[in-house]
Symmetry: C2
Subunit: 458 residues, 2 copies
């Protein structure tokens, strides 16, 4: 028909155009289908889910937000100008984009790499400075009771949200766990979220932090560093402080594995005790030089891999560095280092978590060792990162079990327990009473002796 209107030549041209256009249109159509399928399955959910969310959002606004906000502002005198701008639905946002720090990406440090790294000005008379201070500040004694030193538990995590959303949830459970243990044992906590020295990022960040805390808190006798992926699983176990009266540095480990084998996992720096004294400042200064990010840390890593048994290839880490220091300078440091293995100051999770039910069956809290580990440490799980060294499902489920295993010891104080080690739900294990003070909790943790502190005033 076209060729009658346009002429045969033009009609053929037009047909050719249509044919090419058909090709383009078909490709475009196909592309659109593919695009829609991808976008739909990813960010915005199914159409049905969108409608539900819209319904919910609308009803929520209609019923709650406006009246309360207006009233609060009237009551409090000032309204905030831009309070109305923007979505109230968290799912609408790329949270990472909102929380992007103005400094992300900026070069972080400008130290001259030819200058040796230093944690701070050299101090040689710390013991003297500290004892002078303690003498002048009797309200801040370094021993809070007989044979009980003042202890500061130090832990921390990145100031950024975890790469993996569930990571922060586990950090939260982990700090709750530490809060519980520390409250029972009269220990204070410092939770760090600041990178004090950008050169010492990652596992090395603890060194500048530890030094700063020791120097700022002369009243602290022992600083207890604990990784964020380590949890207390024996709430009743009190560290045998007296055992360490002649030592300054306590780590879980084995003498033979360090001094004979130079084995890179002969000790663990995920949970250790460090006395506040000159010796400790000195070992921190000895420890730090392998830490600075970049060439120094890379090269140090090669040395450590070469020198230590079984160490894979990767940049220098604080644990390997400490193995190296102790193995090569035993005469200098060894006498004051206690490698503890009679209880789990650090307990590798892999060989502990499957045994919790057996432990419950055969033992009770208070042993701190293989029978009832003080600490279960989830080395390698890295729930805050994108991927770890172990299967995700095993890590998350076992971390929940370890948390509940410890939490049960807290809950029993109040007459509750988790329904199972896998369950968040709690159930009663004791009837309520109108004479609560006549009931003692089974583990005696409500008012334990290791917490009682004699005060001079009332």
């Amino acid at each position: 028909m076209l060729d009658r209107v346009l002429g045969p030549l033009n009609a053929r041209r037009l047909h050719r155009v249509f044919r090419k256009a058909k090709l383009t249109v078909l490709c475009l159509f196909l592309t659109l289908i593919v695009l829609r399928a991808n976008i739909g399955a990813g960010k915005f959910g199914t159409p049905e889910k969108d409608l539900d969310e819209i319904r919910e959002t609308f009803s929520h606004i209609r019923n709650r937000a406006e009246p309360r906000r207006v009233l609060e502002e009237v009551a409090e005198l000032k309204s905030s100008g831009d309070a109305d701008a923007g979505s109230k639905n968290y799912a609408d946002f790329d949270i990472k984009k909102i929380l992007k720090d103005e400094d992300d990406g900026f070069p972080e440090f400008k130290r001259d790499p030819s200058q040796p790294y230093s944690l701070g000005p050299k101090i040689s008379d710390w013991n003297e400075q500290r004892s002078e201070w303690l003498k002048n500040n009797p309200d801040y004694p370094n021993f809070v009771a007989e044979n009980k030193p003042r202890v500061l538990l130090v832990t921390g995590s990145s100031p950024k949200p975890c790469e993996n959303p569930v990571g922060d949830h586990y950090l939260l459970k982990s700090i709750k766990n530490k809060i519980d243990y520390s409250r029972l044992h009269g220990i204070e906590i410092f939770y760090n979220m600041a990178l004090l020295d950008a050169e010492m990022a990652g596992f090395w960040a603890k060194l500048p932090l530890i030094r700063q805390l020791l120097l700022s808190h002369p009243e602290v006798e022992f600083l207890w560093w604990m990784d964020s992926d380590a949890m207390f699983t024996d709430m009743a176990y009190e560290v045998p402080w007296e055992r360490y009266k002649d030592h300054n540095f306590v780590m879980h480990g084995w003498n033979e594995m360090i001094y004979d084998e130079k084995n890179w996992i002969g000790l663990n720096t995920g949970s250790f005790l460090l006395r506040n004294c000159q010796w400790s400042l000195d070992i921190l200064d000895t420890w730090a030089p392998m830490g600075p990010k970049g060439k120094i840390r890379e090269d140090a890593g090669k040395i450590l891999t070469r020198e230590l048994k079984g160490r894979p290839v990767f940049e220098a880490d604080d644990q390997s560095a400490m193995v190296y220091i102790l193995a090569t300078e035993k005469e200098k440091w060894g006498e004051k280092v206690y490698l503890e293995n009679h209880y789990y100051l650090h307990g590798y999770w892999g060989i502990l978590v499957d045994k919790y039910e057996q432990m419950i069956e055969s033992y009770h809290p208070g042993f701190g060792d293989h029978r009832w580990p003080l600490v279960t440490h989830f080395v390698g799980c890295k729930p805050c990162g994108k991927f770890g060294d172990y299967p995700v499902e095993r890590c998350l489920k076992q971390m929940d079990r370890a948390f509940n295993f410890g939490d049960n010891q807290i809950l029993q104080m109040y007459g509750f327990t988790h329904k199972s080690l896998a369950s968040r739900k709690v159930v009663r294990i004791r009837n309520e009473t109108s004479k609560p003070l006549e009931v003692r909790d089974e583990l005696g943790l409500l008012h334990p002796s290791f917490k009682a502190v004699k005060t001079g005033s009332s």
Copy 2:
């Protein structure tokens, strides 16, 4: 050429086939490009990033996981059977599915609704029980220093990961903030993650918890409830305990707004002090009946909306219920209730957060009031849920600012501060020294007088 081989008709057919095939191939090609672009841009990053991740994963496995795991197992004697099963990449998982509790969805409580709700067996002689206990347990005094009661700060959050991934990160920052304040002020913390009574879920969950803690800890003089969305912004402010020596319940609020107006936001139950005594058990018993989930809470909500000024329509909440109780039973409870508004025991964030810079300019920590609020409370932001009452971006950014505003007061103790209120990065504000004990932090928070506790032993 083809038509010489195949004959003109077949050649033409073949040409037609080729032409159609060309169309199909072109579309497929286009589709592949589009698919690749979409997959690349979403889950797995750019191709370059994919390669990097693959390299990293491969080297990670080659270098770290296997040798370390094998060694740890050899060193620790047992290997876990299913350690090799499953992905190590957190992004591969629907985490919610992994963490789905066996009990999710099960009916949670089976109480007879015709029976009145009760927090527990009636106790009428708590003051006597408690003073007897205190007399017999001098190691657990209810006053830890002169005019300083033993205080337990109680807060908490759901045992489930937040609906919105960034929610847990803010819960984490919030508890760190509370840990800091509490450490400075000699206060202990209880972080709750257990639902003790399924009927009293949501904002009512605090009631069974508070009662249980009071009864289990007679040594606690004041229980300080604080919401998870409230943060300390004045680290130097000590609550004026003496002011409340004749009161049992301290909330931020205004007498007129409660007793004259019955205004539903005349007080705030997001941060309050409750003395451990019979009176408090009684008011908890009076408070609880509007709480049980379902018809009771719904109907109670209607009463509260009808009776209170400005209250929108929604189920009964603990705050409205308390307004109602005080307004309708003033003669019974009023004498022992202190509605405090001379400092921000609770400070509505909306009117505070834009003023932080002015505060820094004109004032200093220690006021606790409009000049430097003790508490900034992010009512309505709900970062743990899917959506809140306010724009997401404003909430998150302001929560970061409030956190940093408080954190700066902690960091200055150690010579650091945040680069700005919006930044996670910290910078030095004091030169390092070899005489750290001669330097006092500006705010005097390292060894504040309100923390010094006289001990009888050394």
